[in-house]
């Protein structure tokens, strides 16, 4: 229509810049610059959400998501995982008596054995976890009850731990090393795995404890007190955490490199879990050079040296064996989520009117 045709002709057309860049003495025009930004002409795109655009989009999303979901689900399903609860709540479970008769100052450790069967062989590296439930490693007071500089080998913090460690800061007027509630509650069950061959002989499955902690933790964040290579002397004048049976420098009697603050089990424990039900890496079962599976199917025996009390707060202890894939551990949720969302999108999109 005729209306508004005045607009285009005058404002933007002929006058552009002519007034501004006149000869000497010409007053500079106050005409705004003709740049894409100032005139709000930057290239842009915005989806126009109509049935005609949204539904095909749904359709496409469905088409993409369902295969991804299936892929994830299959990958997750291919991961083999075995989990066994050894808390000993039931009276007929092997660890019942250990759990019942637990006493922290008994000198003879209580041992119990659980039989279980792997239906399928576990290939490649197998990861062995211990799992705890209803254990609030994420409580604020618990989380902050540590002294990072002490764990980093700082000598003054060794003798004078941070106040955050209370009430596990000193014991009988000696500073506790490592101090705090986290260290004090170090998981100290010992798990051993035996493969029972068809003839009944038990073979100890070799468990590797090297490499279960993060590299940065082991080499950067955690350091033994400097000054003396003999840890016994280095930790002189400190006391062990109240719950511990042996001091920190004797955590691993077999490997002297794995003692003190750089003990890998200790480091793993010190990295607190985000949720009250969690699992922590305990050992790695290396794959065998031959083609035999790391853990062939068959009967196994799990021997537990039962040291860690959880029944008082209704906690649970588990042992988990798992293989991994590119997407980490077993997790069917992601695949299911993809498939569900993809299917919904697909069916919504499949209804395209045209």
């Amino acid at each position: 229509m005729m209306a508004s045709s005045y607009n285009a002709k005058e404002e933007d057309g002929h006058h552009s810049g002519a007034a501004g860049h006149g000869g000497a003495g010409a007053v500079k025009s106050r005409k705004p610059d003709n740049t894409a930004f100032k005139q709000q002409r930057l290239p842009a795109w915005q989806p126009i959400l109509t049935a005609g655009t949204v539904l095909p989009a749904f359709f496409v999303i469905g088409l993409i998501f369902i295969p991804i979901g299936i892929g994830l689900y299959v990958t997750s399903n291919n991961i083999k995982e075995f989990e066994i609860d050894y808390t000993g709540v039931d009276s007929n479970s092997p660890c019942y008596s250990c759990a019942r008769n637990f006493s922290s100052n008994s000198t003879t450790p209580c041992t119990c054995s659980l039989n279980f069967t792997l239906e399928q062989p576990f290939e490649s590296n197998v990861f062995m976890y211990y799992g705890l439930s209803n254990f609030y490693q994420n409580h604020r007071r618990y989380v902050k009850s540590r002294d990072d500089s002490q764990l980093n080998g700082d000598l003054s913090s060794l003798k004078e731990p941070s106040k955050e460690c209370e009430p596990y800061r000193t014991s009988e007027s000696f500073p506790i090393a490592p101090c705090g509630a986290i260290a004090n509650s170090l998981f100290n069950d010992t798990l051993e795995l035996y493969y029972v061959e068809s003839n009944g002989t038990r073979n100890l499955v070799p468990l590797v404890k090297k490499g279960i902690a993060w590299w940065t933790d082991k080499h950067v964040k955690f350091r033994n007190p400097s000054g003396n290579s003999n840890l016994t002397i280095a930790f002189q004048g400190t006391s062990k955490p109240v719950n511990w049976r042996k001091p920190v420098f004797e955590l691993d009697p077999l490997d002297s490199e794995n003692n003190g603050f750089i003990n890998e089990d200790f480091i793993v424990w010190m990295r607190t879990a985000a949720l009250p039900t969690f699992r922590k890496l305990y050992r790695i079962i290396q794959k065998k050079p031959s083609t035999t599976p790391t853990l062939p199917s068959g009967r196994y025996i799990l021997t537990v040296t039962y040291n860690y009390p959880v029944l008082s707060f209704d906690g649970r202890k588990r042992m988990i064996l798992s293989t991994i894939s590119w997407m980490g551990g077993k997790n069917p949720f992601l695949g299911i989520a993809y498939i569900t969302v993809g299917s919904i999108c697909f069916f919504l999109g499949a209804d395209i009117p045209n």
């Binding site: 005409k31 610059d33 989806p47 604020r140 618990y142 509650s185 949720f333």
Partner: protein
């Protein structure tokens, strides 16, 4: 040079020239100006104190104090201290540099020398009373551009008695006049005072004042007496007194922030209760590994956790919202300033957002109140028609007619080169009339304060100017009293027809009828008319009148009233000469603009001082009144009853309730204010209403105004003619108060200032009539048609951007906070962060600054015109008429109507934005690690949930930020 330094008591100001002791006794402000706030020592405490008056800073300080309590502290103190110091530091540096600049400029201003001998152009540094000048008759020419933006030269004239002092320093030094005048005020056009000198008193008015900010022109030197100095000067009194206009989004934000504070308290209470339960059940048995702290039981722990969660969940309070919103508004204002489509090349005037805080309100305008002259029209006058003595072109009458035009005005002439006369008129009407007289052989040559020289048909004649009875908006007429060389004294008067007709001699009745006929004809053509009349005076009467005039003009009390009375007395029994008609063409694009605005459901009311017929005609020519309208009501009664009878309500809507319904509701912060609202009545068809000033005065009275409002709001078009500036403001206020609608007033002249200030948004047209309107406006540009772009493009965009930003802001606040909230259920309500502290701080800061960046990055490109190139049909924004408007305009106008009013910031929508993030983090906990799982899922769930809105864009960016946080 400064004679008496000055100043005053609250009532009147006394000062005596060259008597320092006398003047100092009054402790008037000296001429040094102090605008700086701090000095070296006071800077830190004062600045900190000032900054801590801001709510946000106090809130942050409170948080920091909480964090210093070890039992409460859930975050290390630096998470708050760092941003707080940053904000305080940056503000302090800014304040400091501002203050250093102020110190500098103070020093510079206070040291500026005023030496009139040497400079041809100089700025006055104080308000001076002009004593003498180099020019004959003690004239001084000044330019007042800095004061009111008018660039035409103005004349100031000293009293003859002081003019005799000349430039003799001795005489000046011994001058001992006493001045008694009004206290300092901000009225640039008024001054009232008396000078007592040699036991004679002389009247002082604005014509003898040189105000600070004026520039002296064409004058070699002048001497003055300082009346007001420093902060008392009219310029300084005028500055910095702006009223803060707040937008409805501001009010909404205040309420929201309050609600959110309440919500935070609720959340923390839930957390505290949860903590109590957890500690007494789970925590009690978990003591094996985590013993209670000494002296803290479950109750105390619950209390402490309340405060811990105040810290952890503080991210939900959008305390940085105010700053962010201001920055966005500033950005949007720049886009208005930068818009080439609102730039007027002819006068080299770009649009200007003078107030940067009102942009989004532009998208919600419901009523526009417009001036006519200079706003809808060009205000470039051309003499078009005249009626002389009832179209009887008798030579004598014609001569009188043009003689009047040549004499009765306030135009200044300037002869740039011989024969090249150049008129400087304050109003374009006058310029047109004087030019017309010149073209008909009555050339106005020059004026002095006491004479006017004209060339009448080739003869030089000098008239003695006895008095000028000046024009103002109430008098609506001006007169001059002149004595011709033969000694005949005549009063020439020109003015609005109604005004002059009331003052005519009865013998003119017949002529009046014919002239009225002509006037109606002219007005019907949309011309501006003036009626001219004269009166012969006799010497004796004049002498007495002059005496009284002098007395009145030096009196301090009721001077204006007394002068008005005197003017009234002498301007009667006038003889009608004829009428002139001046054409004022419509500006380009006005009809189209009005049509488009009407389609966007914006009602336009024209408030004009013009005649009813002129207004009606303009109404037709700019599409406001249309032939297809069912009826056009004209209210032109002179009594309240008459107005009531003419009330058109019944005709339009017979079913309407007789008594106006007033819905009272509570509004504002804490619902402290009562809001009254008259609901819109439904009406079939289009109607127009024209009401004149007389009727409007009755209609605005208490008992009729609601009735008037209802009627007017039923009409598509309302034209109020013959209205005074005060009435303009009253109409605006009426609509503002009872319609609770956002109003916009647009005008170009001083008479529109009151209306511009009264409306939510004032728009000034920088045109022919000086700068007063622009100076008091919030937005200014050169042409009426830019209003369309300002409202429909910038207003709409600003509003959409703002509402999107608000939604996004709340979304990100809530999603960030709810993560913590739900995590509490898994960590024993212990106020443990679900992210590492350093990381949490980083993410939080990233959100605060990143939200702004993301907003600018996304929203500006989203709404930039680039989209037209891709989806032309989907973005039929007005102003982009490369593509046919007609194709898609309906959609667009509906767009303006539907989303901007209330929708984007509606509560429902905000709710969607707020509760959505609340359940999303739940998914986090329902899944086992690795957390990546959750992240990917979250992205997709968002896509799903947000399918209905374009906001998914911004949401996605928010989600992306969240995703980042999880991923890391």
């Amino acid at each position: 040079f400064l004679y008496g330094s000055s100043l005053f008591s609250e009532e009147d100001r006394f000062l005596r020239a060259n008597d320092r002791a006398f003047n100092l006794s009054y402790k008037y402000a000296d001429n040094s100006i102090k605008t700086s706030k701090y000095n070296f020592i006071t800077f830190l405490p004062l600045n900190l104190f000032e900054q801590l008056q801001r709510l946000a800073n106090v809130y942050f300080c409170f948080l920091m104090v909480l964090q210093l309590i070890p039992a409460v502290s859930s975050l290390s103190w630096f998470t708050t201290a760092v941003p707080l110091t940053l904000v305080l530091g940056i503000t302090a540096v800014k304040d400091a540099s501002d203050d250093i600049n102020r110190h500098k400029s103070d020093r510079q201003v206070n040291n500026r020398k005023t030496d009139p001998y040497l400079l041809l152009v100089f700025y006055f540094q104080a308000d001076l009373l002009l004593l003498s000048s180099s020019e004959p008759l003690n004239l001084v020419y000044v330019e007042t551009a800095e004061l009111d933006g008018e660039t035409n030269l103005k004349v100031r004239q000293a009293l003859t008695v002081t003019g005799e002092l000349g430039d003799s320093i001795e005489a000046l030094a011994s001058f001992n006049g006493e001045v008694r005048c009004e206290p300092p005020n901000n009225r640039l056009d008024k001054f009232k005072g008396t000078l007592i000198y040699r036991e004679q008193s002389y009247s002082l008015d604005n014509d003898k004042m040189l105000l600070r900010g004026c520039t002296l022109r064409n004058t070699e030197w002048c001497f003055g007496l300082v009346i007001f100095g420093g902060a008392d000067t009219k310029l300084m009194q005028n500055s910095g007194k702006s009223i803060f206009k707040r937008t409805s989004v501001d009010h909404l934000m205040n309420i929201l922030v309050l609600c959110i504070f309440g919500f935070l308290a609720c959340m923390c209470t839930v957390m505290a209760i949860g903590n109590a339960i957890w500690e007494s059940r789970e925590g009690y048995s978990f003591q094996v590994f985590l013993p209670y702290e000494a002296g803290i039981n479950a109750q105390l722990s619950s209390f402490l956790s309340f405060w811990s969660y105040v810290i952890v969940l503080n991210t939900v309070v959008p305390i940085s919202l105010y700053v962010s919103v201001e920055i966005i508004r500033l950005g949007n204002s720049f886009f208005i300033d930068w818009d080439r489509k609102m730039y007027y090349p002819k006068s080299d005037t770009p649009a200007q957002a003078r107030t940067t805080t009102l942009n989004e309100e532009l998208g919600q305008i419901k009523y526009i109140f417009s001036d006519k002259t200079g706003t809808l029209t060009q205000n470039i006058m051309t003499f078009n028609k005249c009626s002389i003595n009832g179209r009887n072109y008798g030579t004598l009458e014609a001569q009188a007619f043009f003689r009047l035009l040549a004499l009765c005005h306030t135009v200044m002439s300037e002869e740039k080169s011989p024969g090249d006369l150049y008129y400087q008129a304050q109003s374009p009407d006058e310029g047109a009339l004087v030019t017309a007289a010149r073209n008909f052989g009555f050339v106005f040559l020059s004026r002095t304060p006491e004479t006017i020289t004209v060339v009448e048909m080739g003869r030089h004649i000098t008239y003695e100017l006895i008095a000028v009875l000046d024009f103002n908006n109430v008098r609506k007429r001006m007169s001059v009293i002149v004595r011709d060389p033969e000694g005949k004294i005549t009063l020439f008067c020109k003015g609005a027809d109604t005004i002059i007709y009331e003052r005519l001699h009865p013998s003119c009745d017949k002529l009046m009828k014919i002239t009225t006929q002509h006037l109606n004809e002219y007005a019907g053509d949309g011309l501006r008319t003036l009626v001219l009349a004269y009166k012969e005076l006799d010497e004796d009467y004049l002498e007495k009148w002059r005496q009284r005039h002098h007395e009145a003009s030096i009196s301090m009390d009721e001077r204006e009233e007394r002068l008005d009375e005197l003017y009234e007395e002498i301007e009667k029994d006038l003889m009608l000469i004829g009428a002139s008609a001046v054409e004022d063409k419509l500006q380009d694009g006005v009809p189209q603009t009005i049509e488009q605005l009407a389609k966007a459901d914006i009602k336009i009311w024209v408030l004009t001082g013009d005649k009813q017929e002129t207004a009606e005609n303009i109404g037709y020519s700019c599409n406001m009144l249309r032939e297809e309208m069912k009826d056009i009501f004209i209210v032109a009664a002179n009594t309240p009853e008459g107005v009531k009878q003419e009330n058109a309500l019944r005709k339009m809507c017979p079913d309407a309730p007789a008594v106006p319904v007033v819905n009272k509701s509570r509004a504002g912060l804490l619902w402290m204010q009562t809001a009254q609202k008259v609901p819109d009545d439904k009406v079939d068809g289009h109607y127009g209403l024209i009401i004149n000033g007389h009727s409007l005065a009755y209609a605005l009275e208490k008992d009729l105004r609601l009735e008037f409002l209802r009627t007017a709001c039923m009409c598509q078009t309302v034209i109020c003619c013959r209205v005074t500036p005060l009435q303009k403001a009253q109409v605006v206020q009426l609509v503002k108060k009872y319609k609770q609608a956002v109003t916009l007033a647009i005008g170009d002249g001083a008479n529109d200032v009151s209306m511009i200030k009264a409306a939510h948004i004032g728009v000034g047209i920088s045109g022919q009539e000086g700068m007063q309107a622009v100076l008091s406006s919030d937005f200014s540009f050169a042409q009426f048609r830019y209003l369309q772009r300002l409202l429909l493009v910038h207003g709409r965009w600003s509003y959409l951007r703002m509402s999107k930003f608000l939604c996004y802001f709340f979304y990100k606040n809530f999603s960030f906070t709810f993560m913590q909230f739900w995590y509490a259920f898994f960590c024993g309500f212990s106020a443990q962060l679900c992210l590492d502290t350093h990381y949490w701080t980083a993410v939080n800061q990233f959100f605060v600054w990143g939200s702004l960046a993301a907003y600018f990055a996304i929203s500006f490109t989203m709404y930039s015109n680039g989209m037209f190139l891709i989806f032309t049909s989907a973005f039929p924004f007005i102003g982009e008429l490369v593509f046919s408007v007609s194709l898609c305009k309906i959609d667009f106008f509906k767009l303006y109507i539907i989303p901007p009013r209330n929708a984007p910031t509606s509560w429902r929508r905000l709710w969607t934005f707020c509760h959505q993030p609340s359940h999303q983090p739940l998914l986090l906990s329902s899944a086992e690690p690795p957390p990546r799982t959750v992240v990917l899922f979250r992205c997709h769930s968002t896509i799903l949930a947000e399918q209905d809105s374009q906001s998914s864009f911004i949401l996605e960016s928010g989600t992306a930020q969240l995703c980042l946080s999880y991923l890391l």
